[in-house]
């Protein structure tokens, strides 16, 4: 009897567990008060001031012509949708669809376009005046004023998760539409834009009323409203009919709403991206693996969009005192021995571009002429000459190459190992996970050669700063070289007055000659989409903005 009871009890427990686990888990945003109708929102009152940067955009697509739904694959769950917390892979993918910012830049190093800020100007030494639109409303009907802007920035600054906000001394509201911003030092190119485009703007009232600080149910002023968030699985957005910005000239790139419903689907396994596209589970996927790409390249049902990645894969030499790689000829010999074109073909055929500096044409200020100038193109004979000139003999040197433990880095490391073997340099590869890599890459005893990825902000000096700025790394470059001239050239090129073609080129020629780090290649990010997606639009972090993409008239209808 007892046994029967136990069997029945266990069976029921298992059944209940199964049923409870299988129930659809949905967190829906709280009921919100009715938002003001589009017609109620006050009209734009002022003409753009001289300092404004009106965006050249088209009027939003007519409602009737809009596709019903688009689904996009993202590689990770954002987990926390709150506005002022740090970045993660999942958050980066959806933040620009959720929140609005003061401004946006339409491409890396490109023009700043208004979003919530209507205009911005420098009014004094390190002081700026920002004027916002007077008709900004969030989806709950809260009027976003200058006080909300100042509160958003101050809250984010206090939390310390949004790095560029560390440059702010104070920010305060002057009246309903004017904000005064004081910063620590005069900005270089792109510095102000970085600060103005970093902090999501939300209503203080709505944020403080939220039980979890917008972690799962954000209320924002953007053109889309989050209607369903299934943590770890999907996010659904619906186009707002009452979006505050009704003036077509200010419906900038990221304020477009070219589709009625957007669904982000979390796909954590890379191989599943191709399957999700083929089975119609998603319409756009950025994470299709190199092996799967061939299936989509000549398939009329799909379109591939090829974008150059912001990261430059580079080889950094250990410049600590007494290290053999402080010898310039040796560094140059190594660069000549590496065939970056062959490396591209081997690692990512058709999705890779050899570099000509640390950086690529995505960055503002990049000079096209560098591509026709010599940059250590593969030449084994020359490499051997320089190697001999460095005073070393084949078989004498063994270097430890530190790299991250992803597949591409592994392949690149093996190619470098093989090619330096031709020169007579033995290479021991040490691949470690990213957290360990980040920890030990600033330890001069951890490596001789470092396989690194450098990105940075909008302009070409930004990835250079990441490697070479000696103010960041206790008086040396990130790879332990000391060079006052390099630092002086870098300071010049990254200043507002010094950022010009001549100075950019002067820095490039100097770094090329010294070769403390060798820019090898940039990968391309290939986005595969249903053939009904006519144009894929990405933000400066390389994330797809589905509302701004363009769709065929019959897409998903």
């Amino acid at each position: 009897m007892k046994r029967k009871f136990l069997v029945v009890f266990l069976a029921l427990s298992m059944l209940l567990s199964v049923l409870s686990g299988c129930a659809k888990e949905v967190e829906k945003p709280v009921e919100e008060p009715a938002a003001p109708a589009a017609t109620e929102a006050p009209a734009v009152t002022e003409a753009p001031a001289a300092t404004e940067v009106p965006a050249a955009t088209e009027a939003p697509v007519e409602e009737l012509a809009l596709p019903e739904i688009v689904s996009i694959a993202i590689g990770a769950d954002p987990a926390d949708l709150a506005p002022f917390v740090g970045m993660s892979m999942g958050r980066i993918a959806v933040l620009k669809t959720i929140y609005e910012y003061l401004i946006e830049t339409d491409s890396m190093g490109g023009a700043a376009v208004p979003m919530i800020a209507k205009s911005w100007e420098k009014t004094g030494d390190k002081v700026y005046k920002i004027t916002i639109f007077d008709n900004v409303y969030d989806s709950a009907g809260n009027h976003i004023t200058a006080a909300d802007v100042a509160w958003s920035y101050n809250t984010a600054k206090e939390l310390g998760n949004l790095r560029p906000l560390g440059d702010i001394v104070s920010i305060s509201a002057v009246d309903d539409v004017t904000v005064n911003l004081e910063v620590k030092s005069n900005f270089g190119p792109g510095g102000l834009e970085k600060v103005l485009s970093e902090c999501p703007i939300v209503s203080q009232k709505a944020y403080e009323a939220s039980p979890d600080g917008f972690a799962t149910k954000p209320i924002t002023s953007g053109p889309y409203l989050l209607t369903e968030y299934v943590p770890g699985s999907s996010l659904t957005f619906e186009r707002r009919e009452d979006y505050w910005q009704t003036d077509p000239q200010y419906r900038t790139l990221f304020s477009q709403a070219n589709v009625k419903k957007i669904v982000f689907k979390v796909i954590t396994e890379a191989a599943q991206n191709a399957i999700a596209l083929e089975t119609g589970n998603v319409d756009i996927a950025a994470g299709v693996t190199q092996d799967d790409l061939a299936r989509f390249m000549n398939n009329p049902a799909f379109t591939t969009f090829n974008f150059l990645d912001n990261l430059t894969q580079n080889l950094q030499f250990n410049g600590s005192e007494g290290h053999p790689l402080t010898n310039k000829e040796l560094r140059q010999a190594i660069a000549y021995a590496i065939d970056t074109s062959a490396m591209c073909e081997a690692v990512a055929p058709g999705a890779c571009t050899p570099a000509h500096t640390i950086g690529n044409p995505n960055f503002g200020g990049y000079l096209k002429k560098w591509e026709s100038e010599p940059y250590y193109e593969y030449d084994l004979e020359k490499a051997k000459e320089l190697f001999a000139a460095s005073g070393h003999t084949p078989g004498e040197l063994t270097f430890k190459l530190l790299a991250q433990n992803d597949a591409r880095s592994g392949l690149m490391a093996q190619i470098i190992q093989a090619q330096l073997g031709e020169l007579g340099i033995a290479v021991e590869i040490s691949q470690v996970e990213s957290a360990v890599y980040n920890q030990i890459q600033y330890d001069p005893t951890a490596y001789d050669l470092l396989l690194a990825m450098s990105a940075g902000g909008d302009f070409i000096f930004s990835p250079w700063q990441l490697v070479y700025d000696q103010n960041r790394y206790n008086g040396t470059t990130s790879n332990f070289f000391k060079d006052d001239e390099l630092q002086s050239l870098l300071a010049t090129v990254s200043s507002l007055e010094g950022f010009n073609e001549a100075n950019v080129d002067a820095f490039q020629q100097y770094q090329k000659e010294q070769l403390y780090a060798y820019g090898m290649l940039s990968f391309n990010s290939i986005i595969v989409a249903d053939s009904g997606v006519l144009k894929v639009v990405r933000d400066t972090r390389g994330q797809v903005i589905p509302g701004a993409c363009e769709y065929a008239a019959d897409f998903n209808k």
């Binding site: 993660s88 954590t268 599943q272 399957i275 089975t279 957290a435």
Partner: protein, 318 residues
């Protein structure tokens, strides 16, 4: 029996405490700075130092361990995730039903398929049934579950379009992950059942039962199977524990946000609270399951039940 359960429950405390201290110490010692991971590569050394201070990473080992243990013991609070800025307890409870669902269905499949396969193999030792059953078992144990998962997706989702390839929108989303995850366990179960059954059906009491004229089916179900089940139950218990902690591959392939995925994400981002809490949570679940297994022993095996009864009587006489 009540005293035994209480004793086992009390024994869970040092086990979980040991796991807590061990996992905390491992996370303390491994390289990787959470502050650096959280901030952008452009962060200055001052900003990294400030973040470390904010996260309490500069405090001594014992202070950090004390705070962590205090939170768990007094408030059942595992702290907040540094990366996601959310309470870890809430997230674990959100995710646990998904992982448990997969584990329970897998165990169910292993019992329903693995045990009959083992019985068929044992009663047909060296015959066709044995060979077929053991071939299936060998097949299941040799193929990695991620490969089976991808093959199932290609066939049932891409080719036939019957089942979704990923997601958690309903029961049908769990079919492929559970089948893929159950395969190796089915094989183990079949082999263990076969081995136990072979041992039992050679026993004297089975010969006696035959001599008394009982049918083979009766002998099998009434005498052989119950006695052969004891080691099988151990395997089921262990398998359940392994499934709870080891579904990460299947969760990753099918994009199922369970505890395994949460744990791996925490390890990659050095989110100590996620890692420590997930491991402790799984340790708790595992020890609880092992307790249930031991109790199941007592119900199934009369010898163990009698042992409890004798101890109880002795206690009363004393």
């Amino acid at each position: 029996m009540g005293r035994y359960i209480l004793k086992r429950l009390i024994w869970m405390i040092p086990v979980v405490l040991g796991v807590t201290i061990l996992v905390f110490s491992i996370m303390y010692l491994i390289p990787g700075d959470p502050a650096k991971m959280m901030l952008s590569p452009e962060a200055t050394p001052e900003e990294i130092a400030a973040k470390r201070e904010e996260l309490g990473l500069n405090e001594p080992y014992l202070v950090r361990l004390g705070k962590f243990l205090g939170g768990i013991v007094f408030r059942f609070d595992f702290g907040d995730s540094w990366v996601y800025n959310q309470p870890v307890t809430k997230e674990l409870l959100n995710r646990f039903p998904r992982t448990l669902t997969i584990a329970v269905i897998c165990i169910g499949l292993q019992i329903i398929i693995g045990i009959p396969l083992g019985i068929i193999a044992a009663v047909n030792q060296n015959g066709l049934g044995d060979r077929i059953s053991m071939f299936i078992a060998l097949f299941g144990i040799s193929l990695p579950n991620f490969w089976i998962a991808l093959m199932l997706i290609l066939f049932f989702s891409v080719k036939l379009g019957w089942l979704p390839p990923f997601g958690i929108d309903g029961f049908k989303y769990y079919i492929l992950p559970c089948i893929a995850n159950a395969f190796p366990g089915i094989a183990t179960q079949a082999r263990q059942t076969r081995s136990s059954m072979l041992e039992v059906i050679r026993s004297d009491y089975i010969t006696t039962a035959r001599a008394k004229g009982m049918s083979e089916l009766q002998i099998l179900l009434k005498h052989a199977l119950p006695n052969a089940l004891l080691p099988v139950i151990t395997i089921i218990g262990n398998g359940m524990g392994m499934l709870l902690a080891g579904t990460v591959v299947i969760e990753s392939i099918f994009s199922i946000p369970g505890i395994g995925m949460y744990l791996v994400g925490g390890i990659n981002s050095r989110d100590y609270n996620i890692v420590q809490s997930s491991v402790i949570f799984l340790a708790l679940a595992f020890t609880f399951i092992m307790l249930l297994v031991d109790l199941a022993y007592a119900f199934i095996d009369p010898r163990i039940k009698a042992q409890f009864a004798r101890k109880h009587k002795r206690g009363h006489h004393a």
